[in-house]
Amino acid sequence: MASVTATLVESEDPGSVTLTAAGEWLVGAAADLDRRLRALDVPKDRQVTLDLAGIDRLDTAGAWLLLRTEHDLTARGNVVEMRNLRPNFEPLIDQVRTAGFVAPARHPRPAHHTIAGFIAHIGEISLGLIARAHSILGFFGLVCGTVVRLRHHPSRLSLTAVVAQMEQTGVNALPIVGLLTFLIGVVIAYQGADYLRFYGLESYTVQLTGASILRELGVLLTAIILAGRSGSAFTAQIGTMRVNEEIDAMQTIGLDPVEVLVLPRLFGLVLTLPMLTMCANFMGVFGGGLMAWTQLGIGIPQFLSQLSAIAPWSFWIGLIKSPFFAVVIALIGCYEGFQVARSAESVGRLTTLSVVEAIFLVIVIDAGFSIFFSALQI
């Protein structure tokens, strides 16, 4: 079975050529036979006889090679005759003959491999981005509308669902958020002390660590972790429900998917992220303080008095940003979930997209806040 033997012998008589095929014309021998058949050089005006008496086994690949040869030679003007085919192979030959002569499919080539295609591709991406931004804003409007409508019937929002979301996105994320910000606090204090010592200002390590954790890193890290942890989960959960037609089922029963699926996630995250941020801030500052104490000998009283020098504003600036980040993460996560088409593949693609978009928007908004606060000179 491993070595398939198929033979092809060309013999010339005056005025005609005979091709004698024998052996097992199976798919295993097809590559070899293909090469030999393509290399055939039959003079144009000769009559060609395909003698197939010796073919013991034949499959569709072998049949195709025979038929293609017949077809190609006929197209060149040769008179071709197939002879001595065993009758039990005839249905096979007929099947391939009726199905075979279609143009092979072209293989897809990405269009942007040409210059014009490249430019068109950039255009398509840009238009896609605009359409997406428009659609996300629309979704934001829909959610806001639902919140306003719910004002009259606040009992419709399920408190249980909100609390469940808070547990999943908040309590369960505490260990990872706490550990990461603690380590970042340690790293900043350690690296900062090194550089500040160069100028003789190592006692300012406390201010450096405190300000960077409280103003930026605490809330930013928490938001990025939640975008990766919860934003992706929102997309995957809602996306899977779409694939299973659960969302369609909800609508036919009269439940509003935004009310049932989006609002608990949104409110849950908006309540959770500030609390997580506070924990993150505490752990970060704790890590920095530990470093200052062990490496620089800065005791607790000195540490606290230096920390209070950077004013409560650093703390508030970090905290003010957190609900905005929460809204962005929850909205993007839910929005991409609703974008899922009815295929499992799109769940994966959109989950990735939702994390990337959420982190991107979080950082863009953070930059916006930086400009805003510096204009206010805080």
Partner: protein, 272 residues
């Protein structure tokens, strides 16, 4: 029609499958002969798909032996395993086409894996396979997501047939198709069996398929299998088998199947 030699091409002996505490198969025996179309039926949850997956090596049984082409697939070396896999093709329920590849590329996957072929020849082979399974020209360039359910199944069949296998395994080939598409698929399988000399192992729920193309029927009842020709099964007095074949749907399919056969018969005699 098929030359049924006495040597079975698939032989299952004493098969036991368990999931947790649930025993699905308990000492199941089955033989499939070269060139026949075997339909496997049974109630939902009776383990039809599990049986198919076990025979093709996707599910390891708790006990029993499975021989395909005379070789024990549970104890076969990797090299022999590849040799066996080359000779069977599997059509999964929804085609299981690789979604990132076009239909033509899907058909070329097994060709690429097993043979060193020039791209042009692979393209030609893919093109006529698409024709053989009755898909319109141009389908080869499409992606699975652009196809209807029936077209996906035909494409899956084209991929299963890529290496000209001796056995094809079909998992509910007509499920989810409209009756016309399902009928066309039956005719396609019958034609291919005739021209390519295939052995077909088919799991199905479709009574029409059973009546129109299956040579023998295997019924999964009581964790085992009862095999026989359709006539034998109609005589069987096991309660499930009786209600399966003699229920309203069974009777309707039997009538139309008989009609179909006589039509076919007159056609044959007319051509002779």
């Amino acid at each position: 029609m098929p030359d049924q030699s006495d040597e079975p091409i698939i032989r299952v002996r004493g098969l036991v499958n368990r999931f947790g505490n649930e025993t699905v198969h308990d000492g199941l025996d089955l033989e499939v002969f070269r060139g026949e179309v075997l339909g496997v039926v049974g109630a939902s949850g009776s383990g039809k798909s599990v049986l198919l997956r076990t025979v093709i090596g996707l599910n390891r049984p708790a006990a029993g032996s499975i021989e395909v082409f005379g070789r024990d697939i549970l104890a076969v070396s990797d090299i022999d395993q590849r040799e066996i896999e080359k000779q069977w093709g599997v059509l999964f329920q929804d085609g299981a086409l690789f979604s990132s590849l076009t239909v033509a590329q899907n058909i070329e996957v097994p060709l690429k894996e097993y043979y060193d072929m020039p791209l042009r020849l692979m393209d030609e082979i893919a093109a006529f396979k698409i024709g053989i399974v009755g898909l319109p020209e141009g389908t080869g360039e499409k992606y699975p997501s652009q196809l209807s359910g029936g077209m996906r199944k035909r494409s899956g069949l084209a991929r299963a047939l890529a290496l000209d296998p001796e056995i094809v395994f079909l998992d509910e080939p007509t499920a989810g198709l409209d009756p016309i598409a399902a009928g066309d698929f039956d005719v396609l399988i019958r034609d291919l069996r005739g021209s390519l000399g295939l052995t077909v192992f088919m799991v199905t729920h479709d009574l029409d398929t059973l009546f129109s193309i299956c040579d023998r029927v295997a019924v999964l009842v009581d964790k085992r299998i009862r095999v026989g020709t359709l006539e034998q099964m109609l005589q069987d007095d096991h309660p499930w088998i009786r209600s399966y074949f003699h229920g309203p749907r069974g009777r309707a399919a039997l009538l139309s199947g008989a009609e179909h056969l006589t039509k076919h018969g007159t056609q044959l005699s007319a051509t002779v």
